[in-house]
Point group: C2
Chain length 301, copies 2
């Protein structure tokens, strides 16, 4: 039994004749005859009585008609539900962020997005990069905002660059280098370092920058968040490396831009490659990239 057979059946029942139905459905009359015969054969019963040159539904055909109609209209409903679902911007977005970005970067963007698409609830998951990637693979997270490039080989993920921000040395105010306009990591090579705990990718970023500067940092403290580290810098316990977006006015602390080449952190939005995004998710992604294209200088400088 096929949909076109049901269509033909309904057309004939409605118009009261094969020829009339043929004109309506833009199909030749023999084709209708043929398909109805097939349908009747499959059902094992006649749907129409051919009496003289008129056609009338049998009792069985009369019983079958509403079901055929229902099937066809349900089909249309399903079709338009898909069309609706693929054009309308509703549904939810689940976005993942790493802790060293989350508090500084996302809140204003979330606010503007929610104002623009009030129907679209956004969930935020804050985790370190490998866990975010795992959740992306399982489909729990739609989009992740992380430091790029990712270490993963292959084309498993697709990333959209957002911003690239400078790194700063965080020094106690009374530190000898605190008044400089800029400095290099080499100049900090004997300082005690305060860094993020292992697992945070910004730790890798900082360590990699040190390695490029041939500096082996003496790490004397590890924490999970910048604010703890900054407090300790204020207390004169050591120095640290901080991305631009994490700078915050503190009395006992001075930030000096690092002059080393590539002493930057790049942030990008990442999606699982091959995964189709709903309209909302797509909208969120473009919201991220578009909003940042308008103010790249302020953040990336």
């Amino acid at each position: 039994m096929e949909f076109h057979q049901l269509r033909y059946f309904c057309a004939i029942a409605d118009s009261g004749g094969f020829s009339r139905a043929a004109r309506l459905t833009h199909v030749s009359q023999p084709s209708l005859s043929q398909q109805i015969h097939k349908l009747e054969e499959e059902l094992g019963a006649q749907l129409f009585d051919r009496i003289g040159r008129t056609v009338r539904l049998t009792e069985l055909g009369r019983a079958f008609l509403p079901r055929a109609r229902a099937l066809l209209s349900d089909l249309e409903a399903a079709r338009s539900a898909v069309a609706e679902g693929s054009t309308s911007i509703t549904g939810s977005v689940c976005v993942g962020v790493i802790p060293t970005i989350a508090p500084y970067f996302l809140p204003p963007l979330l606010a503007t997005f929610s104002r623009k698409y009030p129907q679209a609830p956004v969930t935020v998951v804050e985790e370190i990069t490998p866990l975010l990637l795992e959740r992306m693979r399982s489909g729990a997270i739609d989009i992740a905002v992380v430091a790029v490039p990712l270490q993963t080989r292959g084309h498993e993920f697709q990333s959209f660059p957002l911003i690239e921000e400078k790194l700063y040395a965080a020094l106690p105010r009374q530190h000898a280098l605190a008044k400089r306009r800029s400095l290099t990591l080499g100049e900090l090579h004997d300082e005690p370092f305060l860094l993020l705990r292992d697992g945070h990718c910004f730790r890798e970023t900082a360590v990699a920058a040190c390695k490029r500067a041939r500096v082996q940092p003496k790490i004397i403290f590890e924490s999970g968040q910048f604010s703890s580290i900054l407090s300790m810098v204020c207390s004169g316990l050591g120095v640290s490396i901080i991305p631009a977006m994490a700078l915050e006015k503190r009395n006992g602390c001075q930030f000096v831009p690092l002059a080393d080449g590539r002493a930057t952190r790049a942030i990008g939005a990442v999606t699982l490659n091959g995964r189709s995004l709903s309209r909302v998710q797509q909208a969120f992604l473009t919201h991220l990239t578009a909003k940042l294209a308008s103010k790249p200088t302020r953040l990336a400088r």
Copy 2:
């Protein structure tokens, strides 16, 4: 969009893979790929995400799945409803009878039929033949029990012979011929006749019999039912012709078999040719013919 595509879609969604679904549906994996591609193209949206070598429903696919399932199960429901409807002996029968048969012939048959098929309500319409035929054409009546053969040319109707009954002369008891074992119409040729009103086909039967006997009946009274006529015969107002089944014991009335050749009335069940009968209707028809095959002698003699 076709049913097999929906089937494939559900199979893939259920089994979580094209190859697994291919094994289940006994279709090759490339065919599934192909058909799903077609479906996705028609819908203008992806139903599955192909990530690595795993397959997962998209948000849209997840929304589409219950609808696809519903369509398939509704299809099965429709199919089995038809199967049910064409095998079960339920539903109604509408049977037409002419007035000169109705009171004598149908009641016992209706009783036994209703006892045999309690689920099948039978409607009886009592009308003269042409009106019955008209209602058959319009589909209002399924089966008619009338005098056969019909005058209609062509094969518009199909008739099943039921019984052939003798005709009797109805005479007042004191009539000169009332004691005879049999007589011919010729012997009644000057008698005043009491006949059915025009339109009743038994009137035609009687008149035709007279004509064959070269008798021109003097009709002095017309009525719509035999009992009125018989009452008048009892009162000695004239004679009449009565079919065997209408004989009823009356004090002032004597019935004498007519010896004329073909002084009989044939009764048959008639259906519109080309019209398919439901199982109940078929059952009613066979009930009529079968019941009468068992006692033809008593009625036809």
